[in-house]
Symmetry: C2
Subunit: 279 residues, 2 copies
């Protein structure tokens, strides 16, 4: 496995391999878990060369404390990637991707103002910026993202469609712990009791889905989810919404095109999860 | 010369030529003149393949009347490009580059709020959007732009730098009529008397430059330019500014890094011009 910290040698290496080789890109912020590895596996199945990037992107953190506390485990990450058969790692310093303070920002109309965007102003602009950089540096055939960040995937889909990036996007399913908790690098920050409480996100989502399938009204289901959260100490629901998977507009009726999305604090750690009505 | 209206066949054609061939891109809105042809010549000198695009980009017109009246001369343009030795033309319909109403917009901090940006809100976001599309479709080695749209060049430079587009940019000098009028597709819209008056832009810029070289104060020079415009019927100065060529911030002293920039109406036609202190 080749590890690069600088852009030029990475580009030179990739230029030598391509155009014969298809390139799969798996962008990550490190602190890898099996969710990331499932993206690597998908990329390896479909491409001659798999490139993973490890970069905690300051531009997408609206909360400086969250940026500071974001887990960083580069050596362990590289070992996991090596074992998973990833061929190339790009792990740049902040100053390599951001030579100056960035001045370009993106606006996605409604899509970056709702759900996560409402609580994390500037987050998706920062995502779009770093993803644009990585796409231009690696020039992948296909880029792989996890469904856990569903809204992020919709943002990147929009970016690729409207800027006409020459690549494919693939979204891979959420990987969960036995109790349903979606794998996330932020789970590492949970204490043992918090870790147990964190299963509430997926439990609420599955309960809500069952109730909706039975025909319960959206308003009542939201109320039940709210009550679930209120009954547990040390957790706080930030939002629970039903949206259309196409453009994430609020769902007023439930169909197989509906997604349930949730963000909640467990202690001081902010977690997100989602569930498709169709799954 | 190959002419494409659709993205897929253009990409297939270019993919067959590259990676052996370097590609020069000359993006235009058509209504070509010798300014454009000088970009084609530069591209031909430096690349195996020259691609010109002809597309009147709705997203960069803040004024619908200006968009409607923008000259469209596709057949004549193609003939000029053929004679200039351009090998590939991409002239898509609006719906080919914009399948839906665009939702992504760009913000460049101060750079798109001053000078042209102050009078044409949204203009540079539209420029950045279409240029991103064209860069991704053509994937050029080098893209060529004219100095007449100096601020546009700075915007695109920022876009390429911050999104890390894998290409070079080149700015080519302004081509002028014998009386100094900068070549522009919009000149076609001037009546004969207006055409004569339009020389005022360059005349004012050269006079201002001379006065500044002699040590005249910026404030006084601006006043003289203002008076020049007031003494001619049917012309109206929109702005005359001195800026730093690096980031277009207002110049408070004159150096060889200063540029004089001007926008003015001649009749109903809005023209721009600029002059480097160093030229």
């Amino acid at each position: 496995m080749e590890i690069f910290k600088e852009i030029k040698p990475l580009k030179a290496f990739l230029k030598e391999k391509t155009p014969a080789a298809t390139i799969g890109l798996v962008p990550t912020m490190g602190a890898l878990h099996h969710g990331h590895l499932s993206l690597i596996e998908a990329s390896k199945r479909e491409n001659a060369l798999t490139v993973s990037t490890i970069f905690v992107n300051p531009a997408q953190f609206n909360n400086p404390e969250d940026l500071k506390k974001y887990p960083r485990t580069l050596e362990r990450d590289c070992e996991m990637l090596r074992q998973a058969g990833c061929q190339v790692v790009f792990a740049p310093e902040v100053t390599t991707l951001y030579e100056h303070e960035p001045t370009v920002t993106f606006d996605f109309g409604t899509l970056d103002k709702i759900l996560e965007g409402k609580f994390r102003p500037g987050h998706f602009s920062g995502v779009a910026l770093v993803v644009s950089k990585l796409f231009h540096i690696v020039n992948p055939t296909t880029a792989y993202f996890g469904q856990k960040d569903f809204q992020q995937f919709k943002i990147i889909e929009k970016l690729v469609e409207e800027l006409k990036f020459d690549l494919q996007l693939k979204m891979m399913p959420i990987i969960r712990e036995p109790d349903g908790l979606a794998l996330s690098s932020r789970n590492k920050r949970l204490s043992e009791p918090e870790r147990k409480k964190a299963a509430l996100l997926f439990r609420s989502l599955t309960e809500a889905k069952k109730l909706l399938i039975r025909g319960e009204k959206i308003f009542n289901v939201k109320e039940i989810v709210n009550q679930n959260y209120k009954s547990v100490d040390g957790v706080k629901l930030e939002y629970f919404e039903l949206a259309n998977i196409e453009n994430l507009s609020p769902a007023e009726t439930v169909t197989n095109q509906t997604i349930l999305l949730m963000a909640a604090y467990v202690g001081e750690v902010r977690l997100i999860d989602n569930l498709l009505m169709e799954e």
